[in-house]
């Protein structure tokens, strides 16, 4: 009865928002922590990679919808592990990556900063960590069909609620030893749908999970491209170009694979310099003939 009353009262209401966020910077640089300058980076192949969501200490959820009890619940640890496993599976079996291990959230302390990452590196044996953070916003607007909610039956059968879910999933790849951000990228997803007011909480919850999954798939594609770009940059010997920490990638003694951070395509290509030099040679030959 209370739900129906709420439905009736809220018919024609404006936008309702549910927001869930975590933040990598809150974890690495909690309030009062001085910025830690990155040192030069040495990556030894094959890499051992850890995957984790930034801890939920600062995870923020908010909702103003009386129907949506539960829709503003944080992303569960079980769901996070599903997403991490999905990313790990996409990057396993590559020559330059020895292992990709999801790290349970319990291992990451809120505001733990790099000291916490050092503990993880020591205990789990990872060199590089991929820290994920997300920002998901869900909007619910009631359409004109909400007038049918007054019939009570309408609240059960008329899909007068327009829902939209926007998800942004960010991945920051850090070399733990040097504290350097190697690269970052993000995946995103936007999806919409309609529901009856009675089903809205469930619809938004499902949309939240599906959208995170789709953003994860998008992130996997973007990570692949970012890894390639990082490899190109690595050839120059720096992390992000001039003025950033030096980067050295070397194989370990037991590594027999191929470092495929970049396309790895090389050519012995002549260019303008060689043509200029040929001109010098021609001039020398001409002078020889002339002298004779």
């Amino acid at each position: 009865m209370a739900t129906l009353l709420a439905v009736a009262l809220c018919g024609g209401c404006g936008s309702i928002q549910v927001r869930k966020t975590t933040n990598v910077l809150d974890y690495l640089y909690p309030e009062g922590t001085p910025a830690i300058p990155a040192r030069d980076v040495t990556l030894t192949l094959p890499l051992r990679v850890g995957l984790a969501f930034a801890p939920a200490g600062r995870e923020r959820t908010s909702s103003s919808n009386v129907f949506l009890a539960g829709a503003d619940s944080p992303v569960t640890e079980m769901h996070k592990q599903v997403l991490l496993q999905r990313i790990a599976d996409a990057f396993r079996g590559r020559d330059s990556i020895a292992s990709v291990d999801p790290i349970p959230s319990a291992y990451l302390q809120a505001g733990g900063s790099f000291a916490n990452l050092d503990q993880i590196a020591a205990s789990m044996g990872v060199d590089v960590v991929v820290l994920l953070s997300y920002d998901q916003a869900q909007f619910n607007e009631t359409s004109d069909w909400s007038l049918t909610y007054w019939t009570i039956v309408g609240a059960y059968i008329v899909e007068g609620e327009n829902n939209q879910t926007q998800t942004f999933l960010d991945a920051a790849v850090y070399d733990i030893k040097s504290r350097a951000l190697l690269f970052r990228t993000a995946g995103s997803d936007v999806r919409g749908g309609e529901s009856t007011p009675i089903e809205t909480a469930e619809a938004l919850r499902k949309a939240s999970e599906d959208s995170l999954l789709a953003a994860t798939d998008d992130l996997i594609t973007k990570l692949d491209a970012a890894l390639k770009e990082f490899g190109r940059q690595a050839v120059g010997g720096t992390v992000h170009g001039q003025g950033t920490p030096a980067l050295d990638i070397k194989p370990s003694s037991e590594y027999h694979g191929v470092a495929r951070f970049e396309g790895g395509r090389y050519a012995g290509a002549a260019g303008l310099g060689e043509l200029v030099l040929l001109g010098l040679l021609a001039a020398a030959a001409w002078m020889t003939r002339r002298a004779a």
Partner: protein
């Protein structure tokens, strides 16, 4: 290591250059540079034939573009070592083929017409040195192609040959400067990673400066060996 002991009417010989050298120049001056021409013809044919390119290119990985891909199978199989040699006949891009083979043809024909044995030695040593550079280039190199290393070997040998055989001081200085600049350019490329030759390459292909450096060194070694043999 002169091509032939026969003397001729070369400018160098006429000007009183060292007999062994002069004879090499003399015997080679009228020759058709068939060694270099054959190399360029083979490389051109291979570069126009996709199946031949795929068979001869040095590629340690899986399909192009599959970064961090390849997988254990590709690594276990690996490319045959001889592909580090044959890949120097492969050019995937027409612009790259035109410039690489143009340099090989011009520098090589110039040298072979002066001294066929030195040209052959520079070409063979160039291919071997570049192949070695490719094999030890490190794990970042997955695929290699191109004849610029051979071009560098032939050019350096040609410049040094002119320097050692000419009687003109100006020509000698110019030729030595050309050889020195070629070597310095390769060294700067190797240690700085900066190259001039990126513009005409496909966007996902990078120059391997070590190939140019190896080629230039091969040219020097070939010329010094040729000179040592002549002196002996």
């Amino acid at each position: 290591m002169t091509a032939s002991p026969s003397a001729g009417a070369s400018p160098d010989a006429a000007a009183g250059a060292a007999p062994g050298v002069a004879s090499g120049v003399a015997s080679g001056i009228a020759r058709w540079p068939w060694i270099v021409a054959t190399f360029v013809a083979c490389a051109t044919a291979i570069s126009l034939w996709p199946e031949a390119r795929a068979a001869l290119v040095y590629d340690r990985g899986g399909p192009p573009g599959s970064i961090a891909g390849g997988g254990a199978g590709a690594v276990a199989a690996g490319p045959a070592v001889w592909r580090a040699l044959s890949s120097q006949l492969v050019h995937d891009a027409s612009g790259m083929a035109a410039i690489d083979l143009g340099v090989v043809l011009l520098a090589g024909a110039f040298l072979e017409r002066r001294d066929r044995v030195l040209a052959a030695a520079a070409l063979v040593l160039g291919m071997l040195f570049v192949a070695l550079a490719v094999l030890v280039a490190g794990p970042q190199l997955v695929r290699y192609e191109g004849a610029s290393g051979v071009g560098a070997a032939l050019f350096t040998a040609a410049a040094l040959h002119v320097a050692f055989t000419t009687t003109s001081r100006g020509a000698r200085a110019l030729a030595l400067a050309a050889a020195a600049v070629a070597l310095a350019k390769a060294a700067v490329e190797q240690w700085s990673g900066w190259t001039w030759a990126d513009a005409h390459l496909p966007p996902d292909v990078r120059v391997l400066p070590a190939a140019h450096l190896a080629g230039s060194l091969a040219g020097i070694v070939a010329t010094l060996a040729w000179r040592a043999r002549w002196r002996s």
